[in-house]
């Protein structure tokens, strides 16, 4: 056991121990040193000064870590189809350092700038020589490669932007998530994905809440009158439900105009089926999209006042 620990430590130190000053291990150890020092300083929750020693040391630690990673991946390239992937790893770390502290918009910035920053890192050796400093590469081949590198990374940025656009669409039209994307030439759902009916479910729940609110305390004739009116003019009920939903979403109506709400009154007296039908973009436009429904039973006890009893779970019918 002891010999194992010793041999492990030896090989570990052989790998990470600094053999000379000008090597990738140096920035790594500087990074570790800066991190260790930052642990000694306090990290006040709310700072009164703009810059704290802790923040400075943490930044130094990050910067040295990025340099060490860049150096290591240059010395030991990870190759895919002959292209060293090192700059993209370093770029990811650098983006994490620059934008990783913020909220969602910063995450977007990090994702979008990742290929560009990585391309700049990959092009850096062509622009910089230790002996002569910065210079524009003279060789035609190098220039051509640099242009292709820039173009490919701009294409990657466009792809990432397109992916973000798709996420925006799904947030704006949540009903789309209840349909299948199998036919698409553009998007690929993650392997574990099943349709997400949460939007339809929340609409049916709002319908249920509105029905309960409307019917409470009505006598039998009043209830029948309400149901009859609702059959003749269902728009009032729909508008009330949609207003409630918009309130719940900070006034945003989202994909509401693509939902058709139905109230079906049936036997035994009165079994009310609340139904939300997706009529928006869907794979087969000649048939309806997915349907979410819930049933309520209205009874009139001995008091002759309406009592309403609804299903807990909404039923879901996928399209097709």
């Amino acid at each position: 056991m002891k010999s194992f620990v010793i041999s492990f430590w030896k090989s570990f130190w052989e790998f990470l121990g600094p053999k000379e000053f000008y090597a990738w291990q140096t920035p790594l150890w500087l990074s570790i040193l800066a991190w260790g020092l930052s642990q000694l300083t306090t990290n006040p929750a709310d700072t009164t000064v703009p810059v704290t020693a802790h923040a400075i040391l943490t930044s130094f630690s990050w910067a040295f870590l990025v340099i060490a990673t860049g150096w290591f991946t240059t010395v030991n390239p990870v190759r895919l189809l002959g292209q060293n992937l090192g700059p993209w790893i370093t770029g990811a770390l650098l983006c994490l350092f620059l934008f990783g502290r913020g909220d969602a918009p910063m995450a977007r910035t990090a994702l979008l700038t990742w290929p560009l920053i990585s391309a700049a890192i990959a092009a850096f050796p062509d622009f910089f020589r230790v002996e002569s400093g910065f210079q524009v590469p003279k060789r035609l081949q190098t220039r051509q490669d640099l242009i292709v590198l820039a173009l490919v990374n701009l294409l990657l940025t466009s792809w990432i932007l397109f992916g973000l656009n798709i996420q925006d669409w799904m947030a704006e039209y949540p009903g789309v998530r209840g349909e299948q994307f199998e036919q698409s030439l553009f998007v690929q759902p993650s392997p574990s994905r099943t349709e997400d009916f949460s939007r339809g479910t929340s609409i049916v729940e709002a319908m249920r809440g509105e029905l309960v609110k409307e019917s409470v305390g009505l006598t039998k004739p009043q209830m029948e009158r309400w149901l009859f009116d609702n059959q003749r003019n269902p728009q009032i009920f729909s508008d009330a439900v949609m207003g409630l939903l918009a309130q719940a979403n900070n006034g945003r109506r989202l994909d509401q105009k693509f939902w058709r709400l139905e109230t079906i009154v049936g036997e035994p007296e009165y079994r009310v089926t609340l139904r939300a039908i997706w009529r928006g973009p869907r794979p087969k436009t000649d048939i309806d999209g997915h349907v979410v429904q819930s049933t309520c039973q209205i009874t009139f006890g001995t008091t002759n006042l309406s009592q309403i009893d609804c299903d807990e779970e909404a039923q879901v019918f996928p399209a097709g």
Binding site: L140, R143, Q144, I147, V148, L151, V152, L154, L155, S158, W159, L161, F162, G163, N165, I166, Q167, W169, M170, Y173, V176, R177, E179, F181, Q183, S184, L185, F186, V187, Q188, P189, S190, S192, R193, D196, G280, P281, R282, P283, K284, T285
Partner: protein, 182 residues
């Protein structure tokens, strides 16, 4: 992480665009090599750069124009991207497709020919400045005629290359629409 389960990535976009780019680059490199006498390696280099530039211009146009489109068109684009199906477009679909394909083709050709001029100026062998010798004035005219002729040759080669690659991509799309393995 409920959100992550419904994460939808445009992976098929990446795969298809990569495939189409490969096909277009191979075909256009072959045509440029054959028609313009560029070396094989050079043909690949030129067609790679040209296709990347035109693809990028296409994305740029999409991202800038899309927010200003009418709501109905936006919905149709979204529906096409998610479900490969237009939304309530009906009878205007064929004419819109024809106009769209024509526009895309002409924009691609315009961008690629401009980019080709630029690349030739940047990468091509530097041309000797014409000597304005009085005795060679006649020849000078010939040189100018010849240079206009090479420009025309270049355009026609590029047009042919684009037409061929677009045909191949259209064929691929036709096959892909009919398959279910994707």
């Amino acid at each position: 992480m409920g959100e992550l389960q419904y994460l939808v990535l445009p992976l098929r976009t990446f795969a298809l665009q990569g495939l189409f780019l490969l096909v277009a680059i191979a075909i256009e490199a072959f045509v440029l090599h054959n028609r313009l006498g560029i070396s094989k390696r050079g043909g690949v280099r030129y067609s790679l750069t040209l296709n990347l530039i035109s693809t990028l211009v296409g994305w740029l146009l999409f991202f800038t124009v899309e927010p200003f489109l009418s709501n109905a068109l936006q919905l149709n684009i979204m529906s096409y991207i998610f479900f490969n199906e237009t939304y309530q477009l009906g009878s205007s679909l064929p004419s819109l497709t024809v106009v769209g394909v024509f526009l895309i083709f002409s924009v691609t050709f315009f961008v690629e020919s401009q980019a080709m001029n630029l690349l030739l100026r940047m990468w091509g062998t530097p041309q000797q400045p014409p000597k304005y010798d009085s005795s060679e004035r006649k020849q000078n005219r010939l040189v100018r005629y010849k240079s206009s002729w090479t420009a025309r040759l270049r355009s026609s080669a590029l047009l042919r290359a684009n037409a061929l690659s677009y045909g191949a991509i259209a064929l691929l799309l036709f096959v892909l629409r009919r398959t279910t393995f994707l």
